[in-house]
Symmetry: C2
Subunit: 289 residues, 2 copies
């Protein structure tokens, strides 16, 4: 079996009545890397240019949360419940320790997991995401997002090419390459998310925007070495949310990319996977790598 998200079969694991879809591929001496997906994204939204290089040093585990794709159940309306599903999934796989890559929505779930069960996680990579109490998280009605989202000429993944990337020629070229890579997987694909998934996840974003006590104080408890990554022109979850993460997490390095938006990890996949690999390879208690 090739270690690639283009060909890796979707697997299933059951916890009571709940069935979780996932993919698991790669090997090496690194801890398994749990990958938590963005708003409405399924297993098919993981760019092989990101997952496959990471799978060359460890197992990569792509997780489909409850109510998404072929995972059963309903989509929770809060990050806390999504984190409980992710932890139940790790327990079902008998994984007692792993690293985590949380992208966008997935980065919020990763932060919640780190607070609820710190010892199950070693290192965190948080991309294009926000702390609890963050601002301007996925406000799809603002013009910079509403215009492409309501453009009838943009269908399917082409919408992602507009909203995940910057308007520059170079970023739009990277968007086209990204969409082509996502379409390389031709069989065993997940069903696309419908409006019910979007509505519930959007409720979870709104809940996450409310501080819980003193703003950002909860981040002090997440002492895991963390790599925070963001594109400087991110319209979906603006980069200032990553500034708050790196200023308030006690042990976080921040890396920002130019000329890019929410999908900076896809646009600069070679740099991102190189940096993530170096970060994950470090045995230090400190985040700098």
């Amino acid at each position: 079996m090739t270690a690639s998200n283009i060909t890796s079969p979707t697997k299933f694991v059951e916890v009571g009545e709940q069935r979780y879809a996932y993919r698991r591929f790669g090997d090496g001496s690194g801890l398994p890397l749990l990958c938590l997906q963005h708003f409405t994204g399924t297993l098919d939204n993981w760019d092989p240019a990101v997952t496959d290089p990471l799978a060359r040093g460890r197992e990569v585990i792509l997780f489909e949360n409850a109510g998404v794709g072929r995972s059963s159940g309903s989509v929770p309306r809060a990050m806390a419940a999504m984190a409980r599903h992710a932890l139940a999934f790790l327990d079902a796989l008998h994984l007692t320790r792993c690293d985590v890559l949380g992208y966008s929505l997935g980065g919020m779930i990763a932060q919640q997991m780190a607070q609820d069960r710190p010892k199950i996680l070693r290192r965190l990579i948080l991309v294009g995401t926000a702390p609890r109490g963050g601002e301007d998280i996925m406000h799809l009605a603002k013009p910079s997002l509403a215009v492409p989202l309501s453009d009838p000429k943009l269908q399917g993944y082409a919408v992602l090419g507009k909203i995940f990337f910057a308007p520059s020629v170079s970023s739009q070229a990277a968007a086209d390459a990204f969409v082509k890579r996502l379409l390389q997987r031709s069989e065993d694909r997940e069903p696309a998310s419908g409006p019910a998934v979007a509505e519930a996840q959007m409720a979870a974003f709104r809940e996450w925007e409310s501080p819980n006590g003193q703003r950002f104080a909860n981040l002090k408890a997440i002492r895991h070495p963390t790599l925070v990554v963001n594109g400087v022109h991110d319209e979906m979850i603006p980069v200032r949310n990553s500034y708050w993460l790196s200023e308030n997490l006690p042990n976080a390095v921040l890396l920002t990319y130019p000329d890019s938006g929410h999908g900076s990890l896809f646009q600069f996949h070679e740099s991102f996977t190189r940096q993530a690999t170096a970060f994950l390879a470090s045995e230090s208690a400190d985040a700098p790598y």
Copy 2:
């Protein structure tokens, strides 16, 4: 000759009436790396833990601007004139192309050089610095700086240990190690800067805080691949200045370090020199490395 700032002799070059002190050591296939120093710093303020690993792949050239250490002349009261000195120095060495590491004050001079003579520079590393129009640049009267600066118990480099590092135990331990490294050079040292140097450089900071036309618009012209680095607890030139750099320079990657202040490159010298080396080794037209 060992390629180290502990032992490398101070050299001199003359341009008309002007004499510049400098050190030049190291070798390798990389372009020479011009290093531009912080407020009141001399050649002796370059941490060998930063300069020496970089000198393993290229020549490192430490430059003493006019009126500092054993360089003759008076200290200019604006970055533009300091940039002219640095360019005259490169011309005197017949260097037509190099990379530059500008730290704090030196990062402002590097930005000015990149605008005035773009082709002489290939890649920029800007650490703990600010764009023209930046804020809270070296306001030494604010309590977080005035208290250590006026503490009679803190003498010589011990002051740097307080104002360049964060108050945490781990950062203060890194400060002590930094000061010890600076004291390893025992001969051929530069005279420390006096109040006249500080006064003129402070005038240059104040001039740099005034936007020239639309704020940050000048940064669009600096298209060089740039690596921006800052500690998140920098009291001397707060990290938001690095955010503005990375958001407005069209081709810049930002790296921030936790648990550290103005001297983040000294505290995390292993990480910094690894990242800087990878950045300088890249042949790409894009900054991400």
